[in-house]
C-alpha cells in the first residue's frame, strides 16, 4: 500500500474510533460530574431495583437463548442438509422482525394474549412467557444468521454422511459432530441475543416494566448521573461477554474453516 493509502487508513480508523469512544468517555465523565468520588455508582450498587431489573433481564435472556438454540440449530442444520431450497424463504423470514416495529408487536401481543380466549398474560408468569416469546422472535434473525454462518463454514453434508456411514444416529451426529463445531457461532448468537434482550425497551416497558431497560430509562428521568453510571456498567458487562467469546473461540482457532478440502 502506498504511504498515502496507509495515511488514509489510519485517518479513517481514528475518526471511527473517536466516534465510538467520545460518547463513552462523555458518559463516564457525566456520571462523575455531580460527585467525582463515584456517588452515582454507589447509589446504583445500593439500589435493589438495579439488581432485580438486571437479574430479571438476564434470566429472561438466558431462557430466550436456550429456547431459540433448541429451535434454530436443528432447523438451520436440517435446512442446509435436506431442504436447501427453503433457505431463501427462511432468510426472508429473518427480515420480518425488522419490518414490524416493536411497538406494533407489543400491542399485537397484548391484544392477542391479554384477553380471552388466549388470556395468557393474566396467568401467573403469563407476561414473562409472552415476553420470552416476543424475544425469541426478535432474536431469531441474529441467532439464525450466526448459526447459519457457522454451518456454512462446515461441510455439513459430508460430515453428517461420514458419521452416518460409521453407524451414527441423529442424536450422536447433532451432539458430537454438529454442536461442538458450532460452538463459536452459537456463542456469538447467544451474546447478540443477550445484548438485545437486556437492552430492549419498548416491549419490556409494557410487559415487564421492572426489567433492566425500563429501569434505566426511569432512572434517567430523576437521577441522570446514575443512569450514565448504569450505561457504563452495562458497557463493561458487554465487553466482558465479548472477552469470554474471544477466549472461547481461541481454543478452536482455525478449526472452523478447515472442515473442507484445502
Amino acid at each position: 500500500m502506498s504511504r498515502f493509502g496507509a495515511w488514509w487508513a489510519w485517518a479513517i480508523f481514528i475518526i471511527a474510533a473517536l466516534y465510538m469512544l467520545v460518547p463513552l468517555v462523555a458518559t463516564f465523565q457525566f456520571s462523575l460530574q455531580q460527585n467525582p468520588t463515584g456517588e452515582a455508582y454507589r447509589y446504583i450498587f445500593n439500589d435493589v431495583k438495579f439488581f432485580a431489573g438486571l437479574g430479571y433481564s438476564f434470566l429472561v435472556a438466558v431462557i430466550t437463548i436456550v429456547i431459540s438454540l433448541l429451535i434454530i440449530v436443528p432447523t438451520a442444520y436440517w435446512v442446509r442438509l435436506k431442504l436447501p431450497r427453503l433457505r431463501p424463504f427462511i432468510e426472508f423470514m429473518t427480515l420480518l422482525p425488522f419490518v414490524v416495529p416493536p411497538i406494533i408487536l407489543v400491542f399485537g401481543l397484548i391484544r392477542s394474549y391479554g384477553r380471552p380466549p388466549l388470556a395468557i398474560t393474566s396467568l401467573p408468569h403469563g407476561s414473562d412467557v409472552v415476553l420470552i416469546g416476543a424475544y425469541v422472535v426478535l432474536s431469531f434473525p441474529y441467532m439464525y444468521r450466526a448459526v447459519d454462518a457457522g454451518l456454512a463454514s462446515l461441510d455439513v453434508r459430508s460430515l453428517t454422511e461420514a458419521a452416518q456411514s460409521m453407524g451414527s444416529g441423529w442424536p450422536r451426529i447433532l451432539l458430537r459432530v454438529i454442536f461442538p463445531n458450532l460452538r463459536v457461532a452459537i456463542l456469538s448468537g447467544a451474546f447478540l441475543t443477550l445484548a438485545i434482550v437486556v437492552g430492549e425497551f419498548t416491549i419490556a416497558s409494557y410487559l415487564a416494566p421492572w426489567s433492566f431497560a425500563p429501569y434505566l430509562s426511569q432512572l434517567g428521568v430523576f437521577k441522570a448521573w446514575s443512569a450514565a453510571a448504569v450505561s457504563i456498567i452495562s458497557f463493561m458487562l458487554t465487553w466482558a461477554a465479548m472477552g469470554i467469546l474471544i477466549l472461547a473461540s481461541r481454543g478452536s482457532a482455525g478449526r472452523v474453516q478447515i472442515a473442507g478440502a484445502r
Partner: protein
Amino acid sequence: MSFLTLTNIQKSFGTMVAVEDFNLSATKGEFVSFLGPSGCGKTTTLRMIAGFETPTSGTIVLDGGDITYRPPNKRNIGMVFQSYALFPNMTVAQNVGFGLRVRKRPADQIQKRVTELLELIHLPDKANQFPYQLSGGQQQRVALARALAFEPEVLLLDEPLSALDAKIRVSLRQEIRAIQRQLGITTVYVTHDQEEALSLSDRVVVMSRGRVEQIGTPFEIYNFPATRFVASFVGQLNALPATVVDAGSGRLTVGGQEIRVSARIDAPAGSAMSLALRPEMVSLGEGPEGSNRLAGTVADVDFLGAIVRMRIRLADAVIVALDVFNEPTLKLPAVGSSITISFPADGPLVMAPGSEAGSGTSAAA
C-alpha cells in the same frame, strides 16, 4: 461368487434420470472403479450403495442380504469423501475411533485398533493432532483409516484424490491399493481420471450419461473398447474421417489415400465412417509387409519425456497423432518435412460418424 450386486438400478431426480439400467456384481476383495465424465452418475450410484440415496427401482444385495432400503448407519460400509470430511473438533485418534465408539467397543480395544490403523497409514505420531494441523494428503489418509477402523464390508471412495496435487495423488493411490490388497476389502472407487481407474482397478465400469458403457478389466477396456464412447474416453484417440470403398474387403479412404482394415464394416460403399486409431498403434516409416501406409507432412512434434508425440497432416483437415518411444538414437523429423507412417490392418476400429463422443481426450486436434 458375487459379494456386492447391483441389479437394474435406476435413479431419477424428478424427471431427470441420473442412473439407468445399472448392473454390476463384484466379488469379495475386488477393486472396482466407476469411470466417466462429470455428471454421468458415478457419485449417485456410489451413494445408493452407501445408502444416502434410494434407488427409484432395482436392488442392491450385499453378502446375500438385500440392503436397498436399509439406512446408511445400518450398512457397515466405510466411505471416503473428496473433501476428507474429518470431524474438526476431534483429534486424529478420536476421528479414527469414531466408528468403534458408535459400536460401543471397550476403550482399550478402541485404542489398540486406532494405533494399528495409524501405523497402517504411516502416521503413528499424529494421534493427538487435530485435522487442521495436517496436510491434505495426511488428512485423506486419516479419513481412510477412519473408514476402515470398524472393519466395514465394503469401502467406498468418491474421488478421494482430486483435492490433492499430482505427486501425492500418485503415491497415495498406490498406498490405497496396497492397503486394500492387504485387507482384502471389497472396494468401489469413483474417479473421472482414466489413469487412476486403469492403474488401480481389477475391473473398471465406464459410464456415460447415467448408463454403463462397458465393464471390464483395464486391459479389456483399453484394448477392446465396446463402444465409441469408451474408445474415445479411455486413452488418446485419433478419430479420422473415412469413406467406405468396399465393405467386404475392408477398404476405405482416409484423406484421399486407400487403406485396408480387418474390422467389420456395416456400411455400403461411399458412406462416411470414422476410423478410431490410438497414437501408439501408428509408427514412423513403412512398417512390416501388409501394413497400411499413409503419406503426409509433419505438422508438429511434441516432446513429452518418455514418449514423443507427432501430428502428421494427411490432408487439409485430417491429422493423425502418433507416439514413438523416446530413445537417444531417435531421429526426429523436421516440422514440414514429408513422411510416411504406417499401422497394422487390425489397428483401427471403424465406427459410425457423427455424434462425436466429445470427451476432450481425442488426440486428433
